[in-house]
């Protein structure tokens, strides 16, 4: 076996045989599968019903709001004309059952101010629901004032079902897919950081234990560096492959046993509620919520281009890893102990962190200029591009271009890293500054 082959073998075997590798490799997919299960399971669970006490001294609401025919409304309204103090609401046994107190001042129609107090923060979705109901009820006063009948007003007030769709009927709604893309981004980010820093630790270990001195009397420094980088990268790919298998099995089992009903189109329709029974005067805000719930499950199983994402994940991981591993190897060679590495690491960590931050923004704007540029720049493309692919806002040519740029970048970085590494590993007892590191490039 060639020398670099021997090094790769040692780096790989010494890590894969570790107990921690086994534990993480098995635990993480279990964690991911359970979280995934939890998300899907929660999405089809009924949400807690919020009990709203509306104090309405002027009896403006007449003791009721229009709630339509919803099956599981997120809130229920109770009315009372007698005013109460906040303290009373907070402490009195009588009001313990209510989650939210809404006060309708007698002048609410003119001053248009409604104030409420919650015991525990409620979700924006529920807040929107409550506000909508109360506003609608109060607006009916205006309607009557302007001579519009209640029924007419309700027809006017009904929200339009505003829905954007991809012009290509083959492509489904990608808003969930974008989250999956972001999940991939986080994943690749963690993978790159984890394995690149393992390269750094490996280099520091060899340097501080002085093993490097015997090593470089047998192999060239570049063989040593590349052997280490490749060996550790293969550990990453192995782990990833095991995870993919485990998560796929878990998803398959869930689909076969737990969400079986959901995947049946008939049941899916039922879960979305009795749509045919909904008349036009149902406010549609809630319809979306119900539809989206089961959409998550649907998308996970059918709406994500898994194969494409996985292949690209592997390619971008390899590219991004080689790029950052080269930089981390430089840091390892330049410092004398792991504690020293923190400061020197900053300039290398920044682009990674920055890409991650950009990734969050791109969820909301996958076709914007940030997405366009950062999916090409090699330092961020491994993290950003998968998101764009998941969102379906990318052309194959762009993927090829970004992969080509990434390849060029890691070739240059590794070339430079090898030069710095060669000098750095034999410098004991001092921490090199970036200025010195650049000087070593010219040696």
């Amino acid at each position: 076996m060639s020398k670099i082959g021997l090094i790769i073998q040692r780096e790989y075997a010494s890590r894969v045989k570790k107990r921690s590798f086994l534990v993480i490799t098995i635990l993480v997919p279990i964690l991911i599968a359970s979280l995934g299960f939890l998300a899907m399971w929660l999405s089809i669970q009924e949400t807690k019903n919020i009990r709203v006490l509306v104090v309405d001294p002027g009896n403006l609401c007449g003791g009721k709001v229009f709630v339509g025919m919803e099956k599981n409304p997120p809130a229920t309204f109770y009315f009372q004309q007698e005013d109460i103090s906040l303290e009373e609401f907070q402490h009195s046994e009588k009001y313990k059952a209510y989650d939210l107190l809404l006060g309708l001042d007698a002048n609410v129609i003119t001053n248009k101010g409604i104030k409420g107090f919650f015991r525990e923060k409620i979700s924006t979705q529920v807040e929107y629901y409550i506000r909508n109901k109360i506003e609608l009820r109060l607006e009916e006063y205006f309607a009557l004032d302007y001579g519009i009948s209640l029924n007419e007003y309700r027809i006017i007030r009904q929200e339009f079902n505003f829905h954007l769709e991809n012009i290509d009927p083959e492509k489904v709604d990608t808003s969930y897919a974008q989250w999956v893309g972001f999940f991939f981004s986080i994943f690749i980010f963690i993978f790159i950081i984890t394995y690149s820093s393992q390269v750094m630790r490996g280099v520091i270990e060899e340097k501080t234990s002085r093993v490097v001195e015997i090593l470089v009397s047998s192999v060239k420094p570049i063989q040593l560096m590349m052997g280490k980088i490749i060996g550790i990268g293969l550990v990453g790919l192995t782990q990833f492959a095991i995870w993919i298998v485990l998560v796929s099995v878990a998803l398959f089992l869930m689909r076969s046993f737990i969400f079986q009903d959901m995947m049946n189109p008939e049941n899916l329709a039922n879960a979305m509620g009795p749509m045919e029974g909904m008349s036009a005067d149902i406010l549609s805000g809630q319809m979306d919520v119900i539809t989206k719930d089961s959409e998550l499950i649907y998308i996970i199983y059918q709406g994500i281009p898994w194969a494409t994402l996985l292949v690209l994940f592997v390619l971008y991981f390899i590219g991004g890893y080689l790029l950052y591993a080269g930089l981390f190897a430089v840091i390892g060679a330049a410092v004398d102990s792991e504690t020293d590495s923190q400061q020197v690491m900053l300039p290398v960590m920044l682009p990674l962190m920055f890409s991650y931050a950009v990734g969050i923004n791109i969820i909301f704007n996958p076709g914007g200029p940030a997405a366009l540029w950062f999916s090409q720049i090699p330092f961020s493309s491994p993290i950003i591009m998968l998101q764009r692919v998941a969102a379906g806002t990318v052309h194959i040519g762009e993927v090829i271009l970004s992969l080509a740029l990434l390849t060029a970048a890691f070739v240059v970085i590794l070339y430079g890293a090898a030069k710095v590494y060669r000098t750095g590993i034999l410098m004991y007892g001092k921490k090199a500054s970036w200025r010195e590191i650049f000087k070593w490039l010219r040696y």
Binding site: E205, V211, E213, I214, S217
Partner: protein, 333 residues
């Protein structure tokens, strides 16, 4: 010269050791290595013979490690050439060299056996051959029970032994040992010394870098002394010692020191004298103006009864200090 030596070896093959001693193993020619801040090696040339133990000496920072790294092809020289066995050093020569660095180190978490096998294979040995050799050496040192121990479980001395085995396992023609005795207790140091002499007997050439002057005296055939990046002494140990001979003798005698001193006149210089007991004394006398020991004896025998005479030979330690100090003095002038 090399070619003729080889021819000689073929024709008179019944005295191979003698012939080997005449052949060159390593030659370093006009090596210069400049670092950003300082000149590490300033035009250094040395050569070692086959089958000899060559001591590379010098104070800390003299440039020994840089020199050793260049021979090991860990770094390259800025100028100059290195020849091994008559040929300019090539990359694949590393399998012919065994290197024990001063900064010892092994993978702490790796098992002893796997580790030795790994380094042997990096030196280009086949797996089976390496395994056989490992068994051989471990049995010799009676440490086969360490095979599945991790290095972090071993004591410093034990790890040193492992490292020594790693250095010699692939049967290198040239052994480069940087401070091989440091870190060993006297018993193990002796064991390693014997191993080194044994390897020499088997034909290996050894380059030894050390501060331990007594071991130099004991085992080195030739030496080179470096100081401040320069070579200040070089040659066979006996020749170097000859060079530093001060022609001073210790004479033990019965009689009066006063009379003894008076008898010396201008031809000899009394460096030092000491009364051992009531009527016995030892005097250190240096010969001057081409006088011989016989002249000295003739002179003093007239006044005292000589009991013993010994030449005061400078130890390697003295030579080291003297040479380095003289150079320093010279630098200042």
């Amino acid at each position: 010269m090399n070619r003729s030596a080889k021819r000689l070896k073929i024709s008179i093959n019944f005295t191979p050791i003698l012939i080997l001693a005449e052949m060159e193993m390593l030659r370093v020619e006009n090596i210069v290595k400049q670092y950003a801040g300082h000149l590490a090696l300033d035009d250094i040339s040395i050569s070692t013979k086959k089958g000899e133990i060559f001591g590379l000496l010098g104070p800390n920072g003299a440039g020994k490690t840089t020199m050793i790294r260049i021979i090991n092809q860990i770094i390259g020289p800025d100028a100059g050439k290195v020849f091994l066995d008559g040929r300019e050093l090539r990359r694949d020569d590393i399998s012919k060299i065994g290197y024990l660095p001063e900064e010892r180190g092994l993978y702490k978490k790796m098992k002893v056996y796997d580790q030795v096998l790994y380094f042997a294979r990096l030196k280009g040995m086949g797996k089976q051959e390496a395994k056989r050799k490992i068994d051989e050496w471990f049995e010799k040192f009676e440490i086969t029970s360490w095979y599945s121990k991790k290095v972090e479980e071993l004591s410093k001395g034990m790890a040193q032994k492992i490292q020594f085995i790693i250095t010699v396992l692939h049967e290198p023609e040239l052994l480069i040992l940087d401070e091989p005795f440091s870190g060993f207790d006297p018993i193990n140091a002796q064991l390693i010394r014997n191993e080194i002499l044994d390897l020499k007997k088997k034909g290996a050439s050894i380059l030894l870098s050390t501060h331990n002057m007594s071991s130099v005296e004991e085992i080195c055939d030739s030496i080179a002394l470096m100081n401040h990046s320069k070579l200040i002494l070089n040659g066979e140990l006996s020749a170097v010692k000859e060079q530093f001979r001060s022609h001073t003798y210790a004479i033990q005698f019965k009689g009066m020191t006063f009379g003894f001193a008076n008898a010396l006149f201008a031809d000899f210089s009394l460096e030092h004298s000491e009364q051992i007991n009531e009527n016995t004394a030892v005097a250190h006398v240096k010969l001057l103006k081409g006088n011989s020991l016989n002249d000295l004896l003739r002179t003093v025998m007239q006044v005292v009864e000589v009991e013993s005479v010994n030449e005061i030979v400078p130890s390697m330690n003295d030579i080291f200090i003297q040479a380095v100090k003289a150079k320093k003095g010279g630098d200042h002038e």
